[in-house]
């Protein structure tokens, strides 16, 4: 495994470059727009002090190079600015939103990903049989439904008509504070169930396409035949030979998908009124809260760059041959 370290360093370097490029691009895009963003985009009744504080914090009266340094420096040191719409430091708003998003995205993603691996493997093994083909058709159908339509449909059927789930939000506003810890947890979980399941279904069908293709590629490999010739049962063959070689794409997709969900889950969060990063972002845009928008964009892109780097590392530990390809 001595070849692992230079590979990791190279990958880390690559991730860092990507990070710098993206962050710089974001900065450039923000500065492209003419005029003072605060005046143009914040609500009319901002005070003069707030405006002055804004200019000072981001260096608007200084040359562009200084602005860039100040900008990067602010983010690195954790000063994300002041949220005008929430009247709180952006950092606090982000922290809450981030935690809420995590609560929703992680279970949704885990469920969806595991489901995708199961579904994709099953479809590959049963390829050609009518049930598998039918499920592939269903997959195309489901993937053709935009996120927000799916969310609306789920909400309407399960919450509104069947009354099986709460109709939105993260907690029952009236009851929540008066509940015990157990009660409050149950409350959140109840509100979590439907949006998480909706997201999980989307993730499952999206990832299963990659995984199915990967398993199909592996199924015809010679070493699968060797395993069978040794007398191994199908479950052994799948577990020890097929999956370890086929999981590569599914893991790579995971690395990109998971951080992407945090901002991309916008639609589901909006429909279910879940107070996560996505919904906060949209509200910030509609409310012209410039600093909040900026911070969310930066944090999200950083998370994505890190996520894909992490996925690469996981993929390498799984499959020692990958090192050689770089």
């Amino acid at each position: 495994m001595t070849r692992l370290r230079p590979f990791l360093l190279a990958r880390a370097g690559h991730a860092l470059t990507v990070l710098v490029v993206i962050v710089t691009l974001v900065f450039v895009l923000f500065r492209l727009t003419p005029g003072d963003p605060f005046l143009a985009r914040s609500q009319e009744h901002a005070t003069e002090e707030e405006h002055a504080a804004f200019r000072a914090r981001w260096g608007y009266d200084r040359p562009i190079a200084v602005q860039y340094v100040k900008w990067v420096g602010n983010f690195v040191s954790g000063d994300f600015g002041w949220s005008h719409s929430a009247q709180r430091p952006v950092r606090e708003v982000l922290a809450t939103a981030f935690v809420n998003s995590t609560l929703l995205m992680i279970p949704a993603f885990v469920l969806g990903w595991l489901g995708a691996v199961a579904l994709g493997t099953w479809q590959a093994f049963r390829q050609g049989r009518w049930l598998a083909r039918a499920s592939e058709t269903v997959a195309i159908g489901v993937l053709s439904i935009p996120d927000f339509v799916m969310a609306l449909a789920a909400l309407w059927v399960f919450a509104f008509r069947l009354r099986l789930a709460p109709s939105g939000g993260m907690v029952d506003v009236a009851l929540h504070d008066s509940l015990t810890l157990a009660g409050r947890t149950a409350d959140v979980v109840a509100h979590l169930a439907l949006p998480a399941l909706t997201l999980a279904v989307v993730v499952m069908f999206a990832v299963s396409r990659y995984h199915r293709a990967a398993v199909l590629g592996v199924l015809h490999e010679d070493y699968v035949r060797t395993a069978r010739a040794s007398g191994a049962a199908e479950s052994d063959v799948v577990r020890r030979h097929v999956l370890p070689n086929a999981l590569g794409p599914a893991i790579a997709v995971a690395g990109i998908l998971l951080p992407g969900m945090f901002a991309g889950g916008v639609f589901v969060e909006k429909v279910f009124a879940w107070p996560g990063m996505g919904r906060t972002l949209v509200d910030a845009v509609l409310g012209r809260d410039f600093e909040l928008v900026q911070a969310i964009v930066v944090v999200s892109t950083v998370a994505i760059a890190l996520g894909s780097a992490l996925a690469d590392i996981v993929a390498v530990t799984f499959n020692p041959r990958v090192q050689l390809d770089t």
Binding site: Y223, T226, R228, N319, L324
Partner: protein, 257 residues
Amino acid sequence: MTTLLDVQGLRVSFGPRPAVNGVSFAIASGETVALVGESGSGKTTTGYALMRLLGDNALVQGTAVFEGRDLFTLPEAEMRSLRGRRMSIVFQEPATALNPVMRVGDQIAEVARVHGESEKAAREMAVAMLERTGIADPARRARAYPHELSGGMRQRVMIAMALLLKPALVIADEPTSALDVTVQAQILALLGELKRESNTAILFITHDLGVVAQTCSRAMVMRAGEIVESADVETLFSAPSHEYTRELLAAVPRLSP
């Protein structure tokens, strides 16, 4: 010598035209028999059919009685218990026949594990077998991945897997075609030694007449899915009775005029 395998009327088709068309032969225990032919003659398909390793799209007819039981009517679970234990196969291309993300020692041990040995015993058997196949420093090599080994070593690993549980029949599908000539000789010698130790019969599938002459006592010539001649090796080489066999022999380049 007792009859180990008796094949009658084997037909294999993947579509309208059969790849193997009514093949019958018998192998006695301990015998080394060659199945010779050009590519496309159906010899590999015959070997895979015996192990029931052909896919669902293959139609297999006929009987193959092995150690008293017809392989083609056995339930899958029983067939699985035979594979690797009483009959095994050495594949042609060791580079792709080994799982790239699994250490070779584990792959060999899997054969034992699948047939009931404990994890520990299986691993010990694997290392012992690696040593028996002539690999130096077997304990360390067992922890290697396939891509870290040379072609010849990989083939030794495949042989170790095939002979680990001392099966009664080994189907060797062109085991040396992918190797250099010098390594070929070593591998053939190894196979010879191992089979003598455990009295294993070998069905040697090959297109290389030189290999046949070196290792086998009997040979069957196959062409377009049928066996056209079957004789002991001396007779075959000195007085072939079928025209096709004569053509094959004539195609072998000779060093002396």
